[in-house]
Subunit: 177 residues, 4 copies
């Protein structure tokens, strides 16, 4: 079977984006990359500070509402449809709901061949990288570090704490069929 989609899950500042770009560079085929950031960019700006949409609290907490969930479900259907239509797809996501978030993807996937990848990073290191990125709101890295992995199963886990993005990407690439 051919891997049609790679889904990476990890907390904020765990290094997902760097791994995605390295995967796009090292994999011989062209893979399209989507993720929670590009999904939020596609939403109306007014939903980024609405209880119905997504709220980023001053302490780094993130909460999402009913309209966000409805749009997200449709977006997942669309991303999966791209894979079904023949594009190879990499998704990076933050499973704020742990296993429940993974189940939302599985519902949309319906038998598509997916490689599930957990992206780990020690909480203190991720928090330091958040500072290095200069984000005005600190605290997301620490608060998401563990909860996003609760009850989630993976085909493969990588840890960016002491391993470069490119090395993680090469490891993942060996699991692509």
């Amino acid at each position: 079977m051919t891997t049609q989609m790679i889904i990476l899950n990890g907390g904020s500042s765990s290094g997902k984006s760097g791994i995605v770009r390295c995967l796009q560079a090292v994999l011989p085929d062209p893979w399209l990359a989507f993720g929670c950031d590009s999904f939020v960019d596609a939403m109306p700006a007014k939903m980024q500070a609405s209880d119905e949409g997504i709220v980023f609290a001053a302490d780094g907490g993130v909460s999402v509402g009913a309209e966000f969930r409805a749009l997200e479900a449709a977006w997942m259907e669309g991303v999966v449809a791209m894979a079904r239509a023949g594009a190879r797809i990499i998704v990076d996501d933050v499973f704020l709901g742990g296993a429940a978030s993974q189940q939302r993807w599985q519902k949309a996937l319906r038998g598509l061949d997916v490689l599930w990848v957990g992206v780990r990073c020690e909480s203190a290191v991720a928090a330091g990288r958040e500072v290095a990125r200069g984000d005005r709101t600190e605290g997301m890295a620490a608060s998401q570090s563990d909860v996003v992995h609760e009850g989630v199963f993976y085909d493969l886990e990588v840890d960016t704490t002491r391993t470069e993005s490119l090395v993680c990407a090469r490891t993942i690439a060996t699991h692509i069929s």
Copy 2:
């Protein structure tokens, strides 16, 4: 019938992005926005300078290859699938192939209820706005201004030459059912 998708077509610097953001602000429902820019961002960086991908020439010309077309077809299927799954979608595109580009969308749409919008801007004004944006490569605005509309049909056309984005958006909004 309910409008499920709005597709805007216009040349570079014709003002599509501004209209899209205004539409997202004035329409009461939350609409997701995608376009050729977000599609190019989803591609591997290496395809942005490859004959198989997309090449931006020094004179403002843009050419795309076979791999680009294959990924684009899958991406169109996915965007349409999001609309079918219930999300309302705005797409802004540059129909480099004129009528042929519109036919590619129609093939994917298969009866979805779409509002087709042409975004016009006098070539000299679009070229001036390209300078104001500070893009390093000039010439895209002038070279795309007319060809993107050749043979394309619209439900509605707006012209940003002397009309603000927000006013154009409000006009478009009155055509949404």
Copy 3:
């Protein structure tokens, strides 16, 4: 005398940045551009939400504290020193304090040959362009539109309400000696 510096003042979304890029394109010499945005980017991220630094309120209001003012005074001295050292400089600023803001610049300028340019835009049009930019916080354009010009003198005023950035820039360029 040779114009050593151009200082543009106008409210948020009045079109200053576009005019600056057009000036850099049409003026035969290379001019360096600095402004309140690049100054805020140079500050520590933590000052962008601190009473001592700069606070952007949810209603579009902006307030700055004592540390901001001290750093700004030193920054102004440095920008003027670049001009004295022979670089031609364009500054775009938002005179939140009106005449008092202009006096802060004059104190630093000490006889440098400056062209003062007021950038006007009808409040409603600027507010619409703010929506088109997709900023999450709306209200800055409307609240700054008039107050930034109170008591300020200019060599020249331009109005972007119905005039393109490039045309405004060409008008300004004719006043450069």
Copy 4:
């Protein structure tokens, strides 16, 4: 004596920007940050592809012309003037000319109290991080890794190969008086 300026030198993708943001976060006073990137942003867009300005070659090579050097000298004078006026300043630069680049800064500094910091990163690791950043042009990291340090003296060197930005910043902070 009080440290008035910190100047970091290192090749592309060696991790300077992350260290700068961490320094701004951990140092108790507010420090302003400038660097070669913000300087290039201040230049006219047309100089970014001109022999007189700065040219980024497809192989990662960078060359600068006479107009670039003249503007840079004035910019250095201005940055130093900000420090003289009381702002504490962090500069990150890429000494393409090695010792000659450092001498250009020294000429402008004239006795200012500066902490010189070398930022090292193993060439292969920097090249990998360049891939992770998704830059379209690869090769800058490898080509600059060593030459930028030739003949340059430092008060302190840090190595980001196996040390996080925040840890490097804390080490640098202990050398600030």
